[in-house]
């Protein structure tokens, strides 16, 4: 478990103190995939790096597995870091070493392992990330997705309990992003390790995270389960991120001429695939216009979100029936 207790960070820039992160209180649970989303400069990179103390908080505390690590130094700091894997946007592999040597690198740094054990562990890790055939290649001979897989194998080498992902898919194309995210989700399930990732893409959060914190100008402005935050964003920044993920930035006024009232219906879980809407419409005789919508998955849970214009004499009845069936309804103001 990772806890931030009023942890903040400011930098000295030309004699003046510039705040990068306002005091943050946050608890990340053992075994969850926790996402931090924000624009560049929002402080997400600082927050992530406080966990392994690549950035030290200016004030407040950081606790890892119940231990206050804020002031860890020397051997204690190195031990902490050995228990936390990290992957990076630009992979940060050693260009002078082969794939196998890159993966073995943290084990050799920590010492105490026989070469035969290291070789066995490397083979096991390369199999896990699907790169058995590339053990003797150099990073420059690999594609971006393969490099990130090497990064993941390296990060897992010393069996950490936490994996930090610093924009790990931001330099990859959509298809490769999907496969790397799948690998991360798989690792989380199989090894039960806690994953903390930062990103500026809501889609990354939606696909792998359990919970999310939204960071804006150094403040945590929203925190919750991904489904709650994604389906019912409160803060303007969160709304913008969700709108970007739905590819519907800056729309709305075109509904002006549509008759009836506008509602946003959110379904989750099994409700998503049952013919609820048609049943209610038949029953109550209301009419509807489908204005926009999306049916997809949040991690493993199906969801649907539809924006409808509805009118009819028994509108209230229809809404009540939908609510009873577990649909979340918000009226959209035009």
């Amino acid at each position: 478990m990772i806890r931030f207790e009023a942890a903040s960070k400011s930098y000295q820039v030309n004699g003046t103190l510039v705040p990068a992160l306002q005091p943050v209180d946050l608890a990340i649970q053992q075994g969850e995939v926790f996402g931090i989303i924000g624009h560049s400069g929002a402080g997400k990179s600082t927050l992530l790096r406080m966990i392994n103390l690549l950035e030290r908080p200016t004030a407040g505390k950081v606790l890892v597995d119940g231990r206050d690590v804020t002031h860890a130094e020397g051997a204690e700091l190195r031990r902490l870091r050995a228990g936390i894997g990290m992957i990076f946007q630009h992979f940060n592999l050693l260009s002078s070493r082969t794939v196998a040597d890159n993966v073995a690198f943290p084990l050799r740094l920590q010492g105490g392992s026989a070469e035969a054990d290291i070789a066995a562990r490397v083979a096991e890790l390369l199999a896990l990330v699907g790169l058995e055939a590339h053990a003797n290649k150099y990073p420059a001979q690999l594609s971006g997705g393969q490099k990130q897989r090497v990064g993941i194998a390296r990060a897992l080498a010393s069996k950490p309990s936490i994996l930090l992902c610093d924009e790990a898919t931001s330099a990859l194309d959509p298809q490769t992003t999907a496969s790397v995210l799948e690998l991360l989700a798989d690792i989380n399930r199989r090894l039960g390790l806690t994953i903390v990732l930062i990103t500026h893409e809501m889609d990354v959060i939606r696909r792998v995270c359990d919970r999310v914190a939204v960071l804006d100008a150094g403040h945590v402005v929203e925190l919750g389960t991904v489904a709650d935050v994604f389906l019912h964003p409160q803060h303007p920044t969160t709304r913008r991120f969700v709108a970007e993920a739905d590819h519907r930035e800056g729309r709305g006024p075109e509904y002006a001429g549509v008759p009836g009232k506008l509602f946003r219906l959110s379904f989750r879980g099994d409700t998503t695939y049952s013919p609820l809407l048609s049943r209610v419409v038949r029953d109550t005789g209301v009419e509807y216009n489908l204005l926009s919508g999306r049916v997809d998955r949040i991690k493993d849970e199906p969801y649907g979100q539809l924006t409808l214009a509805m009118h009819g004499d028994r509108l209230d009845d229809a809404l009540a029936q939908l609510r009873t069936a577990g649909v979340d309804i918000e009226e959209v103001t035009r």
Partner: protein
């Protein structure tokens, strides 16, 4: 008369051979000490610079100043200034052994600066990743910085070796021996153009060979 004697009537080939040997000896000796002193000095410069792993701006300022002072003194002046030091270290003030001291003092700061530049080319992200894995500074230097910068370090060594060839030739003027001495004594002062031609040609060959060797090694170690 053999064709060689016709072309180069003044030349004593045994002397040329001895001079070649002396030049190579001075080069090898001074290069060895230059690397041994310049490499750690370059690493130290790199680590203490602002924003680096062990940033100590004041120490860096002092180191940097010393390096710059040594680099700005013309080599020929440096040789003369260093005569007392040379005597104290080697017991002689001149000759091959004596030349090595000023050669190293002249070349080590130059090499250190090149090392610092080569280390700065190493991707900061790779250093950060090593820190995140719990590497100590010593491990970062030995296992990350130096291996990652190897092509740059080999190139720096090549440039330094070539510069040292030039320095050894200058050393010849004040009695260090070697090809430079022959060129100066017989070729320049003794009006024997064939001596000048042969010694200069040999120096060109030496520089060319060093450069080719260096380039080959850089290509071999480049993984980018």
């Amino acid at each position: 008369m053999s064709p060689l004697q016709t072309l180069f009537p003044n030349i004593d080939w045994a002397e040329i051979l001895q001079a070649c040997f002396d030049t190579l000896l001075m080069l090898a000796g001074s290069l060895l000490f230059t690397l041994a002193i310049g490499l750690p000095l370059g690493v130290w410069l790199f680590l203490t610079a602002r924003g680096q792993l062990h940033a100590k701006p004041k120490l860096y300022g002092v180191l940097s100043l010393v390096v710059n002072v040594l680099r700005s003194i013309p080599f020929i002046i440096l040789m003369i200034l260093l005569i007392p030091v040379t005597k104290a270290v080697t017991g002689v003030s001149i000759g091959i052994r004596g030349a090595i001291v000023p050669l190293v003092v002249g070349a080590a700061p130059f090499f250190a600066r090149l090392v610092e530049t080569a280390l700065r080319e190493v991707d900061r992200g790779v250093i950060e990743a090593s820190q995140a894995m719990g590497a100590t500074t010593k491990q970062i230097v030995m296992r990350v910085l130096l291996p990652e910068a190897r092509p740059g370090l080999v190139a720096a060594t090549t440039v330094t070796a070539v510069a040292l060839v030039g320095y050894t030739a200058m050393g010849g003027i004040v009695g260090a021996g070697g090809l430079g001495a022959l060129a100066y004594q017989y070729g320049y002062n003794g009006y024997k153009p064939d001596y000048m031609l042969v010694t200069v040609a040999l120096l060109v060959v030496l520089v060319q060979v060093l450069q080719m060797l260096g380039d080959w090694l850089v290509a071999r170690y480049s993984r980018k």
